[in-house]
């Protein structure tokens, strides 16, 4: 077997193992919380008898291990259980919410990733000169401002004053792609500004690190232009660290957008999770948790695999 296949399979197996461990952790944490689903459904004033009946009905009296096995078995079959509030299949409602969140994250990534890598390359090309300082300064400023403030500022100036984009990012199935993009323009800008600095700084640092290598001197002594040296000779050797930070930020775009979604009233996972927590809808919280964990683990695993594949020593062994 090609060693790279072996490495990739190892990473995949490790990722699955990690996901399984996370599921145990999640389940035990919700178990440890005071109160349970029966309490949540019946409210504070429920009689002990009603609570006991409810627990019996919901199967909450069975041992935790049995319930965990049932829950985890369900996940393996794609069944996330039912909400205890409205009895709807979680996989259905989560599926809809997740796809809207991923829609937003996808377009934010489409803007942010190439932009940040390009700005990183530009900062290296003009390092220690004004374009570098300007790029670093602006991106650090944008990461330092809280997301909700950025959101309201954009809403006021771009949405209200200039009237370029709607201030509410409400999308529905009937809209065309253009209409949807118009609706999510402001949250995309906010998310881009939030994740830009990390990726830009890492691109800059990783490439500057490679620029110390002897083969960069070789490239310069071939008479290549400054940007060719960076793009053709430095960048391919800096892919691994850059991909790692890109994936971390992509994962953040999916699981960390609660604030931005609330600010722009965007019907994504973030709002869904907030609702579920406030209503003590434990199965929904568990489902969201395991999905977020899967996305984080998946993205980082992908970053590992890309790093492995980007290494010519592993790709083409002796």
């Amino acid at each position: 077997m090609h060693p790279i296949v072996k490495l990739v399979v190892q990473r995949l197996a490790l990722g699955l193992l990690l996901l399984w461990a996370t599921s145990i952790l999640l389940f035990s944490l919700t178990e440890a919380l005071p109160g349970d689903a029966a309490q949540a459904v019946l409210g504070q004033n429920a009689t002990p008898q009603a609570l006991a009946n409810m627990r019996e009905e919901m199967g909450l009296n069975r041992p935790a291990v049995t319930r965990y096995a049932e829950w985890f078995g369900g996940i393996l079959h794609g069944d996330l259980g039912r909400s205890i509030i409205n009895k709807v299949e979680i996989s259905e409602s989560v599926g809809r919410r997740l796809s809207t969140t991923i829609f937003l994250a996808f377009w934010a990534a489409v803007v942010a990733v190439p932009l940040s890598i390009f700005l990183g390359l530009l900062a290296v090309r003009f390092r220690e000169r004004w374009p570098d300082k300007l790029i670093s300064g602006l991106s650090l400023a944008s990461i330092s401002i809280p997301e909700f403030l950025l959101g309201y500022l954009l809403m006021y100036f771009v949405g209200v004053k200039l009237g370029w984009f709607p201030t509410n990012a409400i999308i529905s199935d009937g809209m065309t792609l253009g209409q949807k993009l118009n609706a999510i323009a402001l949250p995309v800008i906010v998310l881009t500004m939030v994740v830009l600095a990390h990726m830009m700084r890492m691109t800059r640092a990783a490439i500057l690190n490679v620029m110390q290598s002897a083969y960069i001197e070789t490239a310069e002594l071939k008479g290549l232009s400054g940007f060719d040296v960076i793009w053709k000779h430095a960048f391919p050797n800096a892919i691994a660290p850059i991909v790692n930070v890109v994936m971390l930020n992509l994962a953040y775009l999916v699981v960390g957008v609660v604030v931005v979604e609330v600010v722009f009233v965007y019907p994504g996972m973030g709002q869904f999770l907030v609702d579920a927590v406030s209503k003590r809808d434990v199965p929904v919280v568990l489902a969201c948790g395991i999905i977020f964990a899967a996305i984080y683990i998946g993205m980082n695993m992908l970053a590992d695999i890309v790093s492995i594949i980007a290494n010519p020593r592993l790709r083409h062994p002796k």
């Binding site: 001197e217 070789t218 002594l221 071939k222 008479g223 290549l224 232009s225 980007a310």
Partner: protein, 545 residues
């Protein structure tokens, strides 16, 4: 007479240095050097590190490393002052009219790109050839330089070929755009002596066949004597002597050149006593974890107190692995190591503190073998504390004694490694080893990273200390001149085996086994025509077989 290809006039080069605790300041490192190079000729630039030879070589491409910049003078290439053309003019020149072969091809090839792409890149990006033409020329050059499978080797990545092959690829890279001038910067220094001779012959042949002119930079006078028409001897950024190769080698005028020519004048008569050895290695085999290949195979050697055993061989022969096995860093899988009359445990963890103390080690790279944040006093004082519990004045007194023994004064006690020269760093490492009062020191290529004259000083010091302290040396090296200078007995290693072992006079006297013969005949000799003789005699032999 037409203009020379390269004309350098009163070249001055400056650098910005950052002394610790002071403001950065500008210093001049090359002080007005002038020379001419005709089409198709080879000029050798020779000197110690810091002499400015690489800096001068790179100036013919208008390039300065790090904070280095050309501050004055003129560099004319093909009748054009390249220092006046700006960066755009320089980019047209670099990789087209003038190309560069770096010392470490392994570091100078981009690990992420195929060889062919890198070899042809200059020629294509300058529009001197189409891709097809450039690739055809690259294959021709691969063939001319004696690379295996010239048609397909370009599809490989740098890590897939050997060091010697990579250095040839670097030469192909430099010759591909049909330049007028190639700067060779120590192209064979990083290679084994047996590999060096082939690469040297290939480079020489390629220079002759393509009619290109070359600047050949090296610290090894014997090497430069084989390839150049003229030689310029440099020291501290100034020309010491400049003349035809024959004159520089056979009739050097200046004292410094004479010292370079006669370097390695140390005489050490072998002296092998009877009695019990301090180290006896019997039937030792070793392999690295997770492999099924023995890197040491049935090694048997002995070393007597106060004597020197030189272990020679090329890289990969297992000589450093032997040191790791003896020190316990790599526990042997078989055999026995007896030291000072007792059997050593294989692994480092089971050894007593006395085992550790009596067996010290000195490394090739002195600067990475010391903590850059510790002063010389702390570095030498550490073993005194650890092994002998010395503190305060007693410790300081002993540090002074040790500094005295390595011929460095008290003034160094509070200095940091970064403030020392290469030779001084190695001396501090020697003092640190001696501080433990060892019975034996393993010296792993301790002079390989040093200039010849500095290395000579270190070897003399080691021999003097041996007499005073009665310490035995296991001296690992690939340099046969060093071996001749200091050894009492010699073990020649090849592919994990000791192929020849005995007193120095026996090992270095015929009849030789094939490998020792190859090794000995590959050491460059400081006379003209040596390379041709060796190559011719090897061709005759292989034709005879």
């Amino acid at each position: 007479m037409s203009d020379p290809l390269l004309r350098v006039r009163d070249l001055k080069i400056g650098a910005t240095v950052y002394p610790p605790g002071e403001k950065p300041k500008k210093i001049e490192i090359v002080h007005g050097v002038s020379f001419d190079l005709e089409k198709g000729k080879v000029l050798g630039l020779i000197g110690e590190s810091g002499a400015g030879k690489s800096t001068i070589g790179l100036s013919s491409l208008g390039y300065g490393r790090g904070g280095v910049e050309i501050t004055g003078g003129e560099v004319w290439v093909n009748g054009r002052d390249i220092l006046k053309g700006g960066i755009k003019g320089l980019r047209k020149l670099r990789g087209a009219e003038v190309t560069y072969v770096a010392q470490s091809a392994a570091a100078s090839f981009n690990p992420a790109k195929k060889l062919m792409e890198q070899v042809t890149e200059g020629a294509i990006s300058h529009g001197r050839m189409t891709r097809a033409e450039a690739e055809k020329r690259a294959v021709e050059l691969f063939r001319k330089l004696g690379l295996p499978d010239p048609e397909n080797i370009g599809n490989r990545y740098p890590h897939q070929v050997s060091g010697g092959q990579l250095q040839r690829c670097m030469t192909a890279l430099a010759l591909c755009p049909k330049p007028d001038l190639v700067v060779f910067d120590e192209p064979t220094t990083a290679l084994d002596v047996t590999t060096q001779i082939d690469v040297l012959a290939a480079i020489k042949e390629a220079i002759r066949d393509t009619g290109v002119a070359a600047l050949y930079i090296t610290h090894d006078l014997a090497v430069v004597a084989q390839v150049s028409d003229h030689i310029m001897v440099l020291r501290h950024g100034e020309t010491v002597e400049y003349g035809e190769t024959d004159q520089i080698i056979n009739a050097p005028q200046k004292e410094y050149t004479q010292a370079l020519v006669s370097v390695r004048s140390i005489e050490h008569a072998e002296n092998l006593p009877k009695g019990d050895p301090v180290l006896r290695v019997s039937h030792v085999t070793a392999r690295y974890k997770g492999t099924n290949f023995d890197v040491l195979k049935d090694v048997n050697v002995e070393l007597h107190p106060g004597k020197t055993l030189a272990v020679v061989g090329e890289s990969g022969s297992g000589k450093s692995t032997l040191a790791r096995a003896i020190t316990g860093l790599l526990p042997p899988t078989g055999g026995r190591i007896e030291f000072a009359g007792r059997t050593l445990s294989p692994g480092l963890n089971q050894r007593t503190r006395d085992d550790l103390r009596e067996l010290q080690m000195i490394y090739q790279m002195a600067d990475v073998a010391m903590n850059p944040r510790q002063t010389v006093g702390t570095i030498i004082g550490r073993p005194l504390e650890f092994y002998f519990g010395l503190r305060g004045d007693a410790k300081r007194k002993r540090i002074r004694e040790l500094l005295d023994e390595i011929e460095m004064g008290d003034g160094f006690i509070d200095r940091y490694p970064a403030e020392l020269s290469g030779g001084q760093k190695q001396r501090v490492c020697i003092a640190r080893a001696l501080a433990a009062k060892p019975k034996m020191i393993i010296c792993d290529e301790v002079t390989s990273a040093l200039d010849p004259l500095v290395a000579d000083g270190i070897l003399k010091l080691l021999l003097d200390l041996q007499k005073i302290e009665d310490v035995a040396y296991l001296f690992i090296t690939h340099d046969l001149a060093t071996v001749k200078a200091i050894a009492d007995s010699i073990a020649v290693m090849y592919r994990g085996k000791v192929v020849r072992y005995g007193p120095k006079s026996d090992v270095l006297a015929p009849p030789f086994d094939d490998y020792t013969d190859l090794l000995l005949s590959s050491v460059p000799e400081m006379r003209l025509g040596w390379l041709e003789e060796v190559i011719a005699s090897r061709r005759m032999e292989s034709a005879g077989n």
